[in-house]
Amino acid sequence: MSGIVISSADFLREHLRARLTLVMLVALPALFVLVSASVLGEFASALGGSVAGDSASALGAGWAAAFMAGALGFFQVASARGADRRLALAGMGAVPVAVARISASILLGLLISGVAFGTLWLAAGIAHPAHAFIAILIFALIYIGIGTVVGSFISDPLEGSLTVAFIFLIDAFSGPGMSGGGGLAQLMPTRKAADVLVAAGAGQSSPAGDWIAVCLTALGALLIATGAFWLSARPRSA
C-alpha cells in the first residue's frame, strides 16, 4: 500500500514539476473562460447551436479542463510506458502501478478542474457552483480516459497530442449548445456533462437522469484509463 502511495505521489510530482504544465494549467482556463466565451457563442451560432453568455463561459471551463486532462492522460501513458513496466517487473506489479497512475490522474483532474472552476467563478460567477464544479471534473475525468487510450496506441508525442486535439475539436464543436445536437453529437462522451454544465451556467438544475449518465460515463472513463495503465505496465509473458 505504501508503495502505491509513494509511486502515486511521484507520478503526480512528475507532472507538477514541468513548468509548461503549470503555465498551461493557468493559461488554458483563462483562455477558454475569459477570452473565448464570446467567440464560443459566435461559433455556436454559426454551427446551429445556441450557447452564449454565462453558459458559454461555463462550457469553456469544462473544455479547458478536458483538453488539459486529455493531454496529461496521454503523456502519463506514452512517456512513461517503459519505466512503468520496469517498475512493475522489478516487483511492484502491474496492478499497483496502474492504481498509482490512476490515483495521480484523479488528483491531477481535481487540480485542473479546481483551477478551471476558480477561473470561471472569478470571471463570471455561477449560479450553481457545486453542479458546475462536478460537471467540470467529469469533463476532466472523461478526457483522462480518452488521453490514456490514445497513449496506449500511439507513443509518439506529436502524433498523440494531435490525436487528442482532434478528438477534442470534434467533441467540442459537435457538443450540446455548439451545434444542432444531432448525429455525431449523440455519440460524444461529454454530451451529458456539457448539458449539465450549460444548465449550471444558465442557473438551472439538471434532471437526475443526466446526473446518473454523467457519473456512469466518468466511472467508465476511469475504468478504461486504469485498464490502459495496466496494459502499458503489465509484463509480457514469454
Binding site: S2, G3, I6, S7, D10, F11, R13, E14, H15, R17, A18, S79, A80, G82, A83, R85, R86, L87, A88, L89, A90, G91, M92, P235, R236, S237, A238
Partner: protein
C-alpha cells in the same frame, strides 16, 4: 511459450565457476518476428529463430552480435518486457535488469528513483538507504542524489540505470549494453563490480555489439542468424 520457474535456490556466495553450477536462467528455442511496412508491401522479418542460451550461478556470460541481430529483443523476452512467438524461458531467483536505454522518469530525482525501486524490491528503509548509499559511492555519483534525471548526463543516467538493477542483490543480472556513455574509469570500475558480484555467486549476462574484454568472461554466445552459438 511458457515460463516455468525452476526450484528456488539458496544464495551460495562464492560458488565455483564450473559446469555443475546451478542454472539461474535458461532460454530454449526462443522465436520472434516483426511485421514491417504497410499492406500490400507488409513483410515479416524473423529476428529470433530458436535462440537458446543459459546462465549459471557465479558465471559472467557475454552475448554478442551485429547491430539488429536481435540481442536486445532476446533480452526483453527473457525479462518479460516483450512477448515471444515461441520457445521457453526458465528463470530462477531475483532478477536485476539494466535496459539498453535507461528507463527512468525525467522529472524525478536520483533519490526518488532509489526510493521507488526499493518499494518494488520490498526492501526495508534501512536496507534501502544502505544499498543506495553504497551503490552511489561504488559508481561515484553521490553528488547527483538530489538531481532530476533531465539534468543528468548520459553517463550518469546509465550509472543510475545500472544501480537500480543491482540494489536488491539479484541472483540473475541482465545487462543490455550497460557501459554505453561510461568514461574509461567507470568502464573499468564496471568490470570490477561485475567480477566481484560474479565471484559472490551472481549469474550475469552482458549483451553488447562489441565485447573487447572477452578474457573477463566465462563464456560468450554469438547471436547469428537468429540463433545463439557458443563461441
Amino acid at each position: 511459450m511458457t515460463r516455468n520457474p525452476i526450484a528456488a535456490l539458496a544464495p551460495t556466495a562464492g560458488t565455483p565457476k564450473t559446469g555443475e553450477a546451478e542454472t539461474v536462467m535458461r532460454a530454449e528455442g526462443v522465436k520472434k518476428g516483426f511485421h514491417r511496412g504497410l499492406p500490400p508491401r507488409r513483410r515479416r522479418t524473423e529476428v529470433l529463430k530458436g535462440a537458446s542460451l543459459e546462465v549459471r550461478r557465479g558465471e559472467l556470460v557475454g552475448l554478442v552480435g551485429e547491430n539488429g541481430s536481435g540481442k536486445s529483443t532476446l533480452m526483453k523476452i527473457v525479462v518479460g518486457m516483450m512477448e515471444g512467438d515461441g520457445g521457453e524461458i526458465e528463470r530462477n531467483g531475483k532478477l536485476g535488469y539494466c535496459p539498453q536505454t535507461p528507463l527512468l522518469w525525467e522529472k524525478l530525482t536520483v533519490a526518488e528513483h532509489f526510493e521507488l525501486f526499493a518499494r518494488a524490491y520490498d526492501l526495508d528503509q534501512t536496507e534501502a538507504d544502505s544499498t543506495s548509499q553504497s551503490l552511489l559511492a561504488e559508481l561515484q555519483f553521490e553528488r547527483y542524489r538530489g538531481y532530476r534525471i533531465e539534468d543528468l548526463s548520459g553517463g550518469t543516467r546509465q550509472k543510475l540505470n545500472l544501480a537500480l538493477a543491482l540494489m536488491h542483490g539479484p541472483d540473475l543480472l541482465l545487462l543490455d549494453e550497460p557501459y554505453s556513455g561510461f568514461d574509461w574509469e567507470t568502464y573499468l570500475r564496471f568490470w570490477e563490480m561485475s567480477e566481484r558480484r560474479r565471484d559472490q555467486g551472481m549469474g550475469i549476462l552482458i549483451v553488447s555489439h562489441f565485447l573487447s574484454e572477452r578474457e573477463r568472461l566465462d563464456r560468450v554466445y554469438e547471436l547469428r542468424d537468429g540463433r545463439c552459438i557458443e563461441a
